[in-house]
Amino acid sequence: MLKDYFIRRALYLIPVLIFISFMSFSLIYIAPGDPAEIMMTSPSGGYDEAAVEAFRIAHGLDQPFYIQYLNWFKGAVVGNFGYSYMSEQPVFETVLNAFKNTLTLSVLALVIALVIAIPFGVVSALKHNTVVDDACRFCALFGVSIPNFWQAYMMIILFSVILHWLPPSGFGHGTEISYMILPATVLGTGSAAVMMRMIRSSMLDVMGKEYIQTARGKGLSEKIVIIRHALKNALVPVITVIGLSIGFLLNGSVVVETIFGWSGIGNLVVDSILSHDYMMVQGSVLFVAVIFLLINFFVDLVYVWANPEIRYDRNS
């Protein structure tokens, strides 16, 4: 039963992906601007008609819209995502590299979010309706309400301009933590606020359950009662929110990567849209979509792990 469910889930991905790729292709096609003209425009501003025409023919841009899409589609099915108009590098490799950078940032952001959200959410629940709880909730509301870009600039002003602790932006070699801290914190605090509120309400709910009283009745210390008996059950509904947050982190990276000059997938998408690099836009959008769907799929698996009632099918 469970296996069937996951196979069915996997099959659903196919139409979803076709739809997404078609939508993104259509949108970029409708958008004003001609990739051939943009590519062939010299830095001084003029372009050669013949060169533009040659570029169109070379990249199949002279063909009708649906033929272009089908050509791309045929390639994509066998794993050939084409080459960038701009850099002439293979799309797949470029996207993969950019995604690795975004992933580094997102994972760090997620860790930051969890490190903030779990302890504060739990404390907020255990001390509910006290000053501590109010303070936690106020901070959470604040965190949800602040726009990413504003928080990013404020942090740059504080930590780079005034305190000179961290570089204001840049990528370095992609491995220096100093370049990651600011963007990851900006991304992480936004999700932390949402998760914290979720953990608080979930924890409050669980702490009122009878089995918590049973656990206390066995003479377990309050610490063990909270960690072993309450937290695991309280985190089950939070897993969904974490899954959604990963999507949010990947999306949010568009703004944050642009501000901090981080060469991730967000920056790549923005650049390719601006230059009408059809192949690159298609490749990155599809890639992000696949990742998003895989994460949701994975969240389902984690859900099954955390909830034994789903894991062990009653009928089998």
């Binding site: 009878e210 206390r216 009745g217 066995k218 003479g219 377990l220 059950n233 062990y312």
Partner: protein
């Protein structure tokens, strides 16, 4: 004297609410001997469960407690929370009413049963596991090696009930407080519960049964206490009590059971916030006189006591 296991004296508990304080337990005093099955009977909402929680020191945080609880000569009502943790599950354990709510749905049954052993008997994981399997087998949960690794939802209701008793008795407690063990349970299951409890009792464990089920209390107990509106109004040996209940409420309660014609008690249970003055039963009592408007004394008669002016 050394036979006394639990001694409760002058225990009162009130719980503040938006409408005023609920006087859930008022001046409770009784004792339970070793190996004795003691039942506290009374209507739902008469404060019986709160008394059980007060003994375990698991009252809601805003509850106001006063009085003294001694267990095996130790005044547990004066222990620190940390010391009390060593008593809970070890000397006195509780068994909750609904196993589906009282077991953690996300933890294997075996692990839950093993917890008191690990906490109180200093057992390693393996020792506790072996002992858990023996306990499961003892309570007819077989095959224990398989059942030990299962989750509560994989158990049937009766099996989970037995698992809960196994969990309560895991660290060989001297006293078990069972709160409404037969609430919402059909006759057949009730018989099973009685059988398991008797099995545990015959191993020498004392019981405090908190129940509204007069028939169950009669089948199980050595002695009976009757609770009305937060007060214990009568304590007697089982046979003496059922032969001749003294307090008018006890008499009315016994007449209300189906076997005795199901005569309802006139009036309704009083509010626990604004309790009647004097004897709490007087507004519904057929024998009431003017003196019932003042607090009745607890009258001690041979082997029993009753809180009523009639016997003063």
């Amino acid at each position: 004297m050394s036979d006394v296991l639990l001694k409760v004296s002058g225990v009162s508990v009130s719980i503040p609410t938006g409408q005023g304080a609920v006087h859930a337990v008022d001046d409770a005093a009784f004792s339970i001997n070793k190996h004795e099955v003691f039942s506290l009977i009374g209507e739902s909402g008469s404060g019986k469960s709160i008394l059980g929680q007060a003994i375990m020191r698991l009252l809601p945080p805003n509850a106001v407690f006063s009085g003294k609880v001694e267990l095996g000569g130790m005044e547990i009502s004066a222990l620190s929370e940390k010391e009390m943790q060593k008593v809970r599950g070890k000397t006195v354990a509780s068994i909750a009413q609904n196993p589906y709510l009282a077991m953690n749905p996300g933890i294997r049954v075996g692990t839950q049963i093993a917890e008191p052993m690990r906490a109180h008997l200093g057992m390693s994981k393996e020792e506790a596991k072996a002992r858990t399997c023996r306990a499961l087998k003892y309570f007819d949960i077989i095959p224990p090696e398989v059942r030990e690794r299962e989750y509560p939802f994989q158990y049937s209701g009766g099996m989970l009930q037995r698992a809960m008793v196994a969990m309560g008795t895991a660290a060989d407690p001297e006293l078990i407080i069972a709160d409404e063990p037969t609430k919402g349970v059909d006759v057949l299951k009730k018989r099973n519960i009685a059988a398991i409890f008797q099995k545990v009792a015959s191993d020498g464990c004392a019981f405090l049964l908190i129940t509204h089920d007069v028939g169950f209390a009669r089948a199980m107990s050595d002695r009976i206490a009757v609770n009305y509106c937060g007060q214990i109004i009568e304590i007697a040996g089982r046979d003496a009590f059922f032969k001749e209940p003294l307090h008018p409420y006890s008499q009315a309660l016994l007449d209300a059971v189906p076997e005795r014609g199901m005569h309802p008690i006139p009036g309704s249970s009083p509010s626990m916030i604004e309790v009647p003055e004097g004897c709490r039963f007087h507004p519904r009592c057929p024998y009431k006189t003017d003196r019932c408007l003042t607090n009745p004394p607890v009258v001690k008669l041979e082997g029993r006591c009753v809180r009523c002016w009639i016997y003063a």
